[in-house]
Symmetry: C2
Subunit: 458 residues, 2 copies
């Protein structure tokens, strides 16, 4: 009995380690790059110079996995699969040598890759930022070689924002460009505007609603990013403009791909092809609030899905089904940008509208600490609840403190279907350094209870 | 129709304001002291000098309430009640003048008062710290008069710890004395030990398991606190050693008092006496985890209970019952002491044992941020779950960051009866500044799922 895992990061290695520990199954992992199991979310901090060793981001090295008895093929990519014969074709990147490896179970943990816009000069001059290898390239350009005075970051999502901040903090004149009208499309416009203002105050030149038409340069070094309306000089161009799941191998195996672009899996991470599992950034998951399937690329899901896949692969080897199921997600995400903590879960207004869910929304600004404390800070709060049921549909928080774990409270409400009327009476904590006597989330829940004319109205 | 409220702080004023807004009911409030509606939790920060105006702690002044049409009798105490005649006897503290006031509905929001140990010199020389007036007295002694070089704080609960820290921060040599073997009896010993160490490192001399036998002094100024084993010089003695609910008036009205010492109320805050409600620190509430009644004195409950009482009083005036019910509590509390954030909810081991609940506990230390971040800090985590059901019984967190609102996540689990196996698969947030990819609470839930041999074991 042999499991082959394609992709040695969060989902793949979590599954591989679980199956190995269970015993009785040979486990082999093929990884394209030079690293296993690293924190992708830490890349902007590494590039920004918060720490110097890329290895700090690595949770476990190939050697450590090998010591446990795992076969690990590094710098090895999977290029074809025969699900009837149960073989996968691997290619060593250094030599180009190809070979077929037999498997009983195959786990596709192939992740996602940057979508490189089809724009003149983009592929040559822009540096994508998706893998730790990418991070090392950008870091080297910043640390060595000709000085980087001006940079353009393409893409105003989490990574793009974190990267723009890190560059400004390093003294680089930085422009952030996105074709969308807002930063962070996971937030509603009114909340994204708060983040945009903070970026501007911090010194990032934010240029939205601008479509890039060319990246100019010479000798593999960029000189400028040109949009439909402007031209931004740049010694460095970082591309953080969206990604797509690496589904080529899944397609080759005959796995169904969902409308989200991710691999279709059941709650045990089984694909539609016998003997093939998938987990992590490459799959689509159930959005428990909207009741539809989404491709969400986050380490939290990859780790859980890897575990669930591992449990099921062990059970399948014994002819059964795994006792663990991935329930789905509610789109919880946080980041910190320019001293703002930003959290979100569930549906934005746009997402609720897309899902055809009738909702009410409330939006207000409170303090991060009790108002009489020095520097009480502020937190912008937005919450959505469903008309009729009153269940919490989503929440967005942008503020100076006590945001990140507070969004988890709302996330639990979203996932468990808690209504705003129930939420307002929960026993949440209070102390002056952390907020007011009515928690901001409960103030939002009270406002929505009134707005939706639910009971009780406190 | 007339409502009289006894006590003008969180519970009383929340109810009074709600009833006034509903209209059609005359509302009068009698308050012993000179302040209405202030943040009791802010007193240590005021005394410590974080801000200078005691009024900063006042949410709304008597004048503001009067402008809304409320009758507010300040420095007026209630000394007797005739529930048959529906009259309450009031005494003006400045003149001693007494009078009977008629009511249709009476709300007892009489709060709690310091228990002054029956020890020689205690009443004369120790300064209790329960009301804003108390806080002003201590602040005046620190700011004016002969310099305070050494202080003793009696009582190692939340207020005592916050006060000891504030005094050290002001340069006062401070000893914290408690007869109990641990600081913070709302934590288990192993978690309290972390807090005790931090207090010591900060410069507070912590003296536990010491019973005070005398407070010495002259001319109303203390000179020393004497315990069974030592003598601590003190120019200031702050008493923060426990409180008891002010039930005298409730007893006079014939209300049942529960075994916890608090007034017995139903979920609408009705006492056992017709026409009499009670809310806030004076009542006992249902502990939803243990299924018993406790007297818990916190502003969060007082505010909610005041609202619930107000809603019911309005409904009762129309011959009905209020649509709002106070569901109970799970003992959620947080504080910050010496740069440690401390959160707890649900049951400690001792409380679970007292309640006869079979449990498993896990305890470990994690980081407050991702491990590769500069100064990742640490968080001590303890969680309890019930054997059999696996429901989360309680959680304690002590750490350098991201604790306060994280405890709310566990509190929601406790209140909604979420099991550890369900908890480990919830969609909680992750970003390097706020923790690791598996949230500390979910690591605890995973450990307990294994420990209790529940499914699925991730």
């Amino acid at each position: 009995m042999r499991l082959i895992v394609i992709g040695g990061d969060a989902a793949g290695m979590t599954a591989a380690a679980h199956v190995l520990r269970a015993g009785g199954i040979e486990v082999a992992v093929a990884e394209r790059g030079p690293y296993t199991s690293y924190s992708m979310c830490g890349i902007p901090y590494f590039v920004g110079g918060m720490f110097d060793a890329p290895d700090d981001l690595v949770v476990r090295t190939p050697e450590e996995f090998r010591e446990q008895g795992m076969t690990v093929w590094m710098r090895t990519e999977a290029i074809a699969v025969d699900p009837e014969a149960r073989t996968v074709r691997l290619r060593e990147r250094s030599t180009g040598a190809e070979r077929d490896e037999p498997y009983d179970a195959l786990l596709l943990a192939t992740g996602a890759q940057p979508s490189i816009p089809g724009v003149a000069g983009m592929e040559t001059y822009a540096r994508p930022l998706r893998t730790l290898e990418h991070g090392e390239i950008v870091r080297r350009e910043l640390d060595g070689g000709p000085p980087v005075e001006a940079a353009v970051v393409i893409g105003a999502g989490y990574i793009g924002l974190e990267m723009a901040e890190a560059l400004v903090a390093r003294g680089v004149s930085t422009t952030l460009v996105d074709a969308a009208p807002d930063v962070m499309k996971t937030l509603d416009h009114d909340m994204a505007a708060v983040v945009e203002e903070a970026l501007g105050d911090f010194g990032v030149a934010v240029r939205l609603s601008e479509t890039i038409v060319a990246v100019e340069g010479a000798d593999r070094r960029p000189s400028a990013v040109v949009t439909e309306t402007a031209r931004y000089p740049a010694d460095l161009v970082v591309l953080a403009a969206g990604t797509r799941p690496n589904t080529d191998l899944a397609v080759a195996a005959g796995c169904d791909i969902g409308p989200s672009g991710g691999v279709v899996v059941d709650s045990r991470m089984r694909t539609t092809v016998e003997g093939v599992w998938a987990a992590g950034d490459v799959v689509e998951s159930t959005d428990l609030v909207a009741g539809l399937r989404r491709n969400v690329q986050l380490g939290t899901h990859a780790n859980k899905q890897g575990k669930v896949a591992g449990v099921d692969i062990v059970a399948a080897a014994r002819g059964g089904r795994g006792e663990a199921e991935f329930p789905g997600l509610v789109g919880t995400a946080v980041t910190r940008v320019c001293n703002l903590e930003i959290g979100r879960c569930g549906l934005t207004e746009a997402e609720a509208q897309d899902a055809g869910i009738a909702y009410a929304a409330t939006r207000f600004t409170g303090t991060a600490k009790s108002g009489y404390m020095p520097e009480p800070g502020e937190v912008h709060v937005k919450m959505l609840a469903e008309r009729g049921s009153g269940r919490v549909l989503g929440c967005q928080l942008v503020g100076t403190g006590n945001v990140a774990k507070r969004i988890d409270v709302a996330a639990v409400w979203c996932q468990l279907g808690v209504s705003v009327s129930e939420a307002q009476l929960l026993d949440l904590s209070y102390a002056p350094p952390f907020g007011g006597v009515w928690d901001l989330l409960q103030i939002a829940a009270r406002k929505l209870t009134k707005e939706l004319d639910l009971s009780p109205q406190l």
